[in-house]
């Protein structure tokens, strides 16, 4: 599924909100430059504002200060040519899995026959074909979020934004999914931004990993992950991945986030 891939430029962007009589900075200022086709992860402690940053890029939250540009143009709220996966799968309970995925195509006015074929392929990629006609409340735990990933990809977006999409999976399931997801992303070539609290997941998937501080989240350091793809937890790469994870953990320890 070849697709375009957006470049994102974030320049001193931040978001504030009013809490009582105070104005609180939720996230930022953040500056990042994400190349077209790059996979960048933002790893941060809980409640650091990474979700808010993701939503600012998506155009859901306003950019209070600084600017965010997609392909050189300032974002318009909300940006529509993206695929978005939030922490909750947000599937519609009255629709089947296939209907939930095709909602993306319906609302965008896309060809439904082609979209249905793409949806089937995505489901098969994650081993979820047998749930095509299931309702969301009939799904096993953890699969709803994978369905929302399929929904986010069915229209071949130029930018994929994900907020901890795999956090409900256990370790073994996660390793299986990450392997499949890597290969899927390599095939699409889309720009991907992943917010996660899982250091290993970030290193396994990303070209670069941006480490964010506690609230208000700011970028502390960006690590370039120079490992060949696809990356697996086998003997050849385990120690290298562990080395990157160790460096990131060291940074968090210095911040007092990790013991």
């Amino acid at each position: 599924m070849p697709t375009a891939a957006f470049r994102i430029q974030i320049q001193d962007a931040y978001h504030t909100r009013v809490a009582g009589r105070e104005t609180q900075t939720v996230v930022g200022p953040v500056s990042l430059d994400i190349s077209g086709g790059e996979f960048l992860s933002i790893i941060a402690p809980p409640a650091s504002g990474k979700t808010s940053l993701l939503k600012m890029i998506a155009g859901i939250l306003p950019v209070t200060g600084g600017e965010i540009r997609i392909e050189g143009a300032r974002i318009q709220p909300p940006e529509r040519d993206f695929g978005l996966v939030l922490q909750q799968p947000a599937l519609l309970g009255w629709r089947t899995v296939m209907q939930n995925i095709l909602l993306q195509a319906e609302l965008r006015g896309l060809d439904l026959v082609g979209s249905r074929n793409r949806a089937r392929r995505l489901l098969a990629w994650f081993g979820l074909s047998k749930f095509e006609e299931s309702r969301p409340d009939e799904l096993p735990p953890g699969t709803a979020q994978l369905i929302s990933v399929c929904r986010a990809l069915v229209h071949c977006p130029a930018l994929l934004l994900m907020d901890e999409p795999f956090r409900m999976l256990d370790t073994m399931a996660l390793e299986q999914i990450l392997d499949g997801f890597q290969r899927l992303w390599l095939e699409t070539g889309t720009t991907a931004l992943l917010c996660t609290g899982n250091i290993h997941e970030a290193v396994l998937l990303s070209d670069r990993v941006a480490v964010m501080s506690q609230r208000p989240g700011r970028i502390l350091q960006v690590f370039s992950i120079d490992l060949l793809r696809p990356r697996r937890m086998d003997r050849a790469t385990t120690s290298q991945i562990a080395e990157y994870c160790s460096r990131i953990r060291t940074l968090f320890r210095a911040q007092g986030v990790l013991p």
């Binding site: 155009g59 909300p78 799904l139 096993p140 735990p141 699969t143 709803a144 409900m168």
Partner: protein, 277 residues
């Protein structure tokens, strides 16, 4: 992998755990049997407490009379209930849509919910006169506010992220309302109707006590005045059966057409599993 196991959900459907009619019938039959035996063995006066068999006989003998009055009460309650649903739904949608409307209407709704319904009956008679209209009006007042609150809960149950994602797909406000908010609200509407039916019937019956010459409430009042407890209990039984009938009818509609929860949570901590390829 337990592919067929349903995950527990933090967002459960309202009133979806209703027992089917058959499951309660055994316990009802036991209660009726005990009642029959108590009346017979203790020689309880029929004017105080008729046995179930006497009530059944009365239902058989006066079926036409009871049916005629039941229709009146039924239509009064139904009219009040449907009007309450339409007005309540619109008010709930408005307060969900507009923060200003919510600020104005919310405290008013909370205040009026505390008013005792029966105390409003004389006022309703003044406004609507004697008979059918007053009964329908009181039925409306009895269930309007509870319905509105339940439907509003339905709108509020939708996670903000669901709306955000659908808007990201290109949906405008009208599409979000029709394709997302309205279907998400339907389980709550069904639950609200089921809990409002007895309220509507009660409202209609209370007004029939006060200002009507027809309906089951009027019949019960007449039976009480003539110490005809057989007829009184028979009328009461018909009222209960009507409430149950409406309730299970809506339950059936809910099971067939509204068999979904409002949203799917991210999954439970226990039993995370991977679907097998």
């Amino acid at each position: 992998m337990a592919a067929n196991r349903k995950p527990s959900s933090a967002l459960t459907r309202p009133a979806q755990t209703t027992a089917r009619p058959g499951t309660g019938m055994v316990s009802v039959a036991v209660v009726l049997l005990i009642w029959e035996l108590v009346v017979r063995l203790l020689a309880v006066r029929h004017s105080s407490l008729p046995s179930p068999s006497r009530v059944l006989l009365e239902l058989w003998r006066e079926g036409a009379l009871l049916g005629k009055h039941a229709l009146v009460t039924g239509f009064e309650a139904l009219e009040g209930l449907l009007l309450a649903l339409v007005v309540g739904f619109c008010l709930a949608a408005l307060t969900a849509w507009s923060t200003r409307a919510h600020r104005i209407a919310g405290p008013a709704i909370s205040f009026f919910q505390k008013l005792p319904l029966v105390a409003l009956a004389p006022l309703v008679v003044i406004w609507f006169g004697f008979g059918y209209s007053s009964a329908a009006a009181l039925a409306f007042l009895a269930c309007f506010l509870p319905l509105t609150s339940s439907v509003r809960n339905g709108f509020d149950s939708l996670p903000a992220e669901t709306v955000e994602i659908v808007e990201m797909m290109g949906a405008g406000p009208a599409t979000v309302f029709l394709k997302v908010r309205l279907p998400a609200c339907l389980p709550f509407v069904a639950g609200a109707l089921k809990t409002s039916i007895p309220l509507a019937l009660a409202g209609a019956s209370v007004m029939e006590f006060i200002a009507s010459d027809e309906g089951l409430g009027y019949l019960m009042l007449y039976a009480s005045a003539t110490i005809d407890t057989n007829q009184l209990f028979a009328a009461l039984t018909v009222l209960v059966l009507m409430a149950l009938g409406f309730y299970y009818l809506i339950d059936l509609v809910e099971r067939v057409w509204i068999s979904w929860p409002a949203a799917v949570p991210a999954g439970t901590a226990a039993g995370r599993q991977m679907p097998r390829r």
